[in-house]
Symmetry: C2
Subunit: 114 residues, 2 copies
């Protein structure tokens, strides 16, 4: 609930706000990928893909190991976990409220059917 890592969450959610980058994360969930492999599914230049990867990297969601002339990327689940955690905090709130609404409607029902 508390907004402690504000600017970090900013970058994480922003990184998630693009389908290209989410697809890259999906591919990375299958294991390590090079920059070229990550770029392959898209009809964009390598330079554009490289920028997307940098966004994910700066959000801390992926890490890069330069091996020879290729850059191997792998998922770092930490930031995804923080985003998940943030949403989970809200989940408690909204399920509570929906539960309360549910209870209210049931009481109303009970009152109307003596």
């Amino acid at each position: 609930m508390v907004e402690q890592h504000a600017s970090h969450l900013d970058t994480v959610f922003h990184a998630l706000g693009d389908a290209t980058r989410r697809r890259m994360l999906r591919d990375l969930s299958g294991g390590e990928r090079t920059v070229g492999q990550l770029a392959e599914p898209f009809a964009i230049s390598l330079a554009a893909a490289s920028k997307h990867i940098k966004v994910l990297e700066q959000a801390g969601m992926i890490r890069r190991e330069v091996r020879g002339r290729t850059h191997l990327c792998r998922l770092d689940p930490g930031p995804l976990a923080s985003a998940h955690q943030w949403l989970t905090a809200y989940e408690r709130f909204w399920t509570d409220r929906l539960d309360a609404l549910d209870r209210l409607l049931r009481e109303e029902d009970a009152a109307n059917a003596p």
Copy 2:
């Protein structure tokens, strides 16, 4: 895992990528708020706050009821739930991978301590 609501997730995650809007959601988790009430904590113009609220509204995360001259906003948990769901799918992947790593390290331990 599947990217079915791509463009919708785009707008939801984008809306979450701003601390001002996340704070508004936090306030709305406490119940209905007017535009003025939502804007109050921030040192920005009402027009700017109005734009933020419109972003949340277009992402489907809040709904607005115009009552008299005031606009009452309330949370719609649905889109937050989809974002949560998306992240949950990835959570399964990364916990699987961390579990595998854990198992590997334990096996290594066992081998080194006969």
